[in-house]
Assembly symmetry: D3
Homo-oligomer: 325 residues x 6
């Protein structure tokens, strides 16, 4: 079985039961959420053996994050419990002031995860590992986190572990285009597989997609594969070796909640890739996974199994009415 | 007043408050649901005098089913309370893995209703009855149920009571096309009015609709009327005597929950027919009723009265803005 | 800072948590709602100094209405607490029998607000006031209310306060076209700014919009501005002085709840007008505000600030993908 | 089977999900409640054949009341649906300002039930009836109701139907002791079985219980039985014929909600009496029923069957630990 | 009308709907809470004119705190909105691991309120003020807060405004007895009216209550009145001038939630004192208020009016049964 | 670290949000529950390494049970997923008809767990295991289960693994005293540590406790320790070797939900025993754990850690007021 390690912050999300301004909300649901964690849980659900590097506070939120990872089967041996800093949390305001879009209020400054440092990155974490996944959020959390992430990549390079990076830009943390460039560059340079999205490319290189990708390619010296997520427009995979573009259109579902769709896409693409599927097949599964994710609330809940994916594809790719009961 | 008898299993439905995989659900709503029961309640609400043959366990679920029928005015004199077998229940998983579709997990094996047998079918149930309604679910529940259903039909034939049958195929119970044929055939043969749907026809006869109907006609020797429900495509009524097809298009509403729409269609069509309305008018009311059913959650809750139907039609058939407050 | 006074009934709205027939509802949310109050709160949120004339019962519902107005910053010095009559309440039935439309059941007869009378209209309420807002609901509540409203307008005329009137027809209260004419006429005649909607115009003058507006103009002798709300078709502003029509199309959002959209439109238009914005800009902001209102449940909750409006317009008027987190 | 008729107002109760001042409540549950209706439903549940005289509005609340009565098996042939007056409703404030006590806010003035009049009391309602139940609330609703109630009693006297009256004083409706006397006197005089409570006796005759009962006896010329409910102190039954007092102590349960306990007491006592049980046994069952009622929220929900009562008594009258699972 | 100013942090409280470990909670209610704010709102509700000094973030939580103060009528002119620091929030774990006790998890470090500094204390805040209320929480928040609080007291001394201090020890913030002494001493020394509780006294001076009070008296050089809250044991007021102790026992209510009871006690005592009531009467009202507070969840919701207090006392001080409906 | 294996059925519990008859419930919470599983999770939480033998269906309920065990850290390698039989479920009716007691409605007949058989008991499950825990429920499920349980015990005897048995009688499954004896006898005979309760002893041997224990001793030939749980009366431990009784009284907490208290008692006693604590200390911790369990709803949620237990004991064994915030 393939073995994958991920790294990043997992937080508690407080999500109001109703859409609209947070000031008028009465009830909030407690969820566990975090981009890189979502990717890893998606891969675990698709049969990969996974482990996750993070830190949580010595508090009930930390307990909840660890027990959630465990419940999904992710190895938590390398989760640090930090008695001095609290688990990061955030509040979500849905559909206000932009209908269908989410606004976020963080209490993550000085969180336990922002205190992950180089000394938390033990080389033995990477024993027998095939692939390491990281996103642009982690180096943006703090200088300490950035150094820790760089150390992790250094180890991977030494051990010939495939490095996968998703640019995953958080304007809240990176503030400006220049800051974003400065912080993300070393990671883009190191990645063998690189995920990004249309929003990220526009932020970094402007609106012309074709031009953006070629700019990105110049930086991504190690990349063998660049995958661009385009939301309703589907996704593209650029195979550097063969210099070919593969496109796959998206599946038409009603959007309930966009959060987490990119993560389930990444996790599914990588799991398919580790199974040796063709890039087209990888995109097809990843698009299906993303469609299932946007059709439901929650980040972790909609992550599909292979069986779910195959049933989804059967129904969406054949037009005939099917009796399901 | 016209008098109608129905027969079938009514169960308790546990319906999670949120869409998505059942494994992550916290809260479930308790509903009463059952295809033939829905049809009968729809007819009662439209002014028909109804009675229902079923069996429930000696448990709170059974009490709830009986009190629900009573609250709607359905005569429950022929509901058996079985002290040895529990009331059937089922759990519903909405929008996963197929967005907008429902997956169902049954605890109905050996339920009280599956133990309905010939001796529960007393001829006096059918005194002064004008119409008997049955669907393909009941004979699929158990051999006992099948025999009981056949006995009921035999009595109806003797008493010249109009037999109405809806194919209503449950793949979970009937498994294969051959099994379905074997079990449903005697009922299709006996029915004077026959309801079916595009999904059922595809399952039995393949994708060509025109061909399917003519295959069905060959079996349905007694049928005077064959009605095919086509969902968003509206519905067709084939009048055997005059050898004519009447079509009616559907009303454009947003679909919230498909379950129960066919039942409210059947009940409304039959009530309109018993009032002596033209088949076109029957389809028009039935399509309106189906549209109202899919626009709301729940099986029983959206079933309309004549007044509701007329208001719905007034608004949907005239385009002008209307002040409703 | 500009100062505005409004007048009308504010009620407690009991809104079921689920759509569908009220008979099957289990849980109701308590809201504060009232058309003219919504307009005034919208204006307060947009930086206008506001005050409101109303009456509530000596009961917890009255307390809740007053504390809600206070929480939004509206001056409540002229809210009468009537120990003899209760606060008006109403129940809402959503999406039944017409999907997407709301049916209302009132307990407002003999409410505290229906007992507002001339002697409650003290001239000092209008000291230093720039604008007085009233809608067609208030004179329809009772004869007493009608006289009180007329007295308020008389005072405004004397004090050269701009009178704004929204026809806001409630068929429940006004019953017939003739009754509506009789009751609304003096208010339409007095208004300098007149709001109306396509439904109201159809009810009063028939389906031809162009004709309706010119009929309305004939009555509205004092009007300098007539604004017609057309829902998804956007809005028109007729500038009497320059004899010009300005149109502005609506913003494409998914409709969650139509109630209150017209009120947020009025309040935003008037606030923009008081800032001296061009009529086109007033319509643009008012359409945005209406779009935000229909995209969320609740009357007061979605009312935007200038900052909210500007962010909404930025996203809706530029097509590019934006990183919001 | 014995046949009983009851008469009174049934209303919709809006009950907040949380205790405390109503001004801060967000969610309300919809319940059906009404003192005399509770008594009748209790009797129906204990095997008596019952019918109920009331009136509801032509609105969803009225529908809900009728369907609730039907679901319990009560005959609703004599429920009037009044198209001109709404169904009465009330709001409940629990545990504030007095912990454990309930404050009530009514919207019942001019309700459909307050418009019940003599002409609604058809003699044929009382065909084959054994017992007629009424409480002090009904004559307090309106003059019309009082006359209707007197007419009903007149018919009962003629038909030799046993008249049962519970004083059930509502200070909200009766205001003063003198008003209460005036209104209740003819009913107290006519009753063969008379229920009352310590609070009612204190209100009418002062704090001395012994004295109160003998005062009451003087008025209650027809009474064969006077039953006094004393809450935690149990209950007393005074057998006029034998001039003996029977006391029975209450069962020690934790009080969740006092409302409805007196009604379930009455219904159970009368059902036991109609079975010919000794007065002591009647009190024992009635006390058990009252204890079950106070231990749960809701008026109708906790009403027990004979089987429930017997299990309750078995556990409470024997001290040993019992395995229930 | 008397005028009172308070100062302190108000936070958003996330309170789970169920008791038990926070790790298993699904839903949280959003509340506004803060000890000194509760005292001020209690006084406002009892007819005092109040104003509050605090700081909130430029976020929806800050908006909610301000609108809550406004809804209660508290003047918010001196509430600072800090764009750089967030509003403090905390999570509550009820009844675990100690049944009936509450554990708290704070996100208040570097909150907006902890950045209140001397320059936020403008002398004009105190114009025409009769009384200034402060508790031991505020100086414990940060050095800045401590200095700001001292400056406020300095101004009060100059302006001869009565200083009231409640020791209100938060072990989470003050850590040790010595730290507590050091930080609280200057405030205890300045107070003319001093509130404390048995827990605070035990923490500072050990278990002997009599001894503790005399130790406290030595420090509290300016105190004219020392009030000790003893929970179920009632409360004591020591009148320094007359050297007399007044005791008042507590009212026996079922405890639902202890939080906020001390605050409603303080606010009620002070309001009664400002009305010139005897100290015994002040204690009687304050004990009643505390009893009402513990009998309900929430800090602000149960705060009574004079009318509520009088009804509570009437029922609790007279034993007879009362008809309340 | 000590290693423990448990065996039994874990089910999905549907628990209504309100107390009272199930027929009137609207919402149910989904919980994972099962007596032996609770014991094992308690031990895992107290630092023991645990594994569990059970079977679940190939359905979302089975997934939920497995992910819950995993989330708590229990090894699930020996959980069978049975594609032919569903996961057992049950519904709970709280406080009706006996206040404070729970009635249960099972759908566990032919459940996956009832199909556990000898061939599922692989000897390697027991490698390096110190203790095996089983209760009287498992052999009562089916003949297959009984044989499987006997095989497990046989292996334990061979491997010199300590066998612990809790009589845990379910009258629903065992029906009669004789049946209970027949089924439980071999397990009582084999156990080295034997847990039982007053209810079980009364059912098996009658009401005299002293006599019951000595009867039980005669059968329990291998027992070194017999522990009797007496609810509010505390618990007794009989040390066979030293022929001594140790008693420990219970802690006075308010009872919210009795279910699961015995399980947390067992798990805590055994964990303390495996740490080598004195039997008195074992009882003290076990009583504390039981008290914490009854004070909260849910089986798994209240299970304490050592830290929780120590804090509980500190507060309950010292009388002084403690500042917890």
């Amino acid at each position: 079985m393939k073995k994958v390690v991920g790294m990043g912050e997992i937080m508690i999300q407080m999500n109001p039961t109703e859409k609209g301004p947070m000031r008028y909300q009465h009830l909030f649901e407690q969820h566990v959420a975090g981009s890189e964690g979502n990717v890893i849980i998606q891969m675990q659900r698709l049969g990969i053996q996974t482990s996750f590097i993070t830190a949580v506070g010595l508090d009930p939120f930390g307990e909840m994050i660890i027990s959630t990872l465990k419940s999904e089967g992710v190895d938590t041996s390398f989760v640090k419990v930090d008695p001095k800093h609290p688990t990061g949390i955030y509040f979500v305001q849905r559909s206000y002031p932009i209908p269908g879009k989410t606004k976020v209020f963080y209490y993550r400054k000085n969180s336990a995860a922002s205190f992950i440092s180089e000394k938390d990155i033990d080389a033995k974490i990477f024993d027998d590992v095939d692939l390491f996944f990281l996103s642009g959020i982690t180096p943006a959390l703090s200088k300490r986190c950035r150094k820790a992430a760089l150390k992790a990549i250094e180890i991977c390079v030494k051990k010939k572990i495939k490095v996968v990076f998703d640019t995953n830009i958080r304007v809240n943390l990176l503030k400006t285009k220049n800051k974003a460039f400065e912080i993300l560059k070393p990671f883009i340079e190191s990645a063998e597989v690189l995920f990004t999205g249309v929003g990220d490319l526009t932020f970094l290189f402007g609106k012309n997609l074709r031009n953006s990708i070629s700019e990105l390619r110049k930086i991504a010296k190690n990349a063998e594969l660049i995958i661009v997520k385009k939301g309703k427009e589907g996704s593209i995979c650029f195979d550097v070796n063969s210099n070919t573009y593969i496109e796959y259109s998206s599946f038409p579902v009603e959007v309930e909640d966009e959060l987490g769709a990119g993560d389930s896409f990444d996790g599914t693409f990588l799991s398919a890739m580790l199974r040796g599927y063709s890039f087209e097949k990888c995109l097809r599964y990843a698009n299906a996974s993303g469609a299932m994710a946007v059709s439901l609330k929650g980040d972790i809940e909609p992550l599909p199994t292979w069986k779910d994916l195959d049933l989804f594809l059967e129904v969406y790719e054949k037009s005939e009415e099917k009796l399901l009961r």
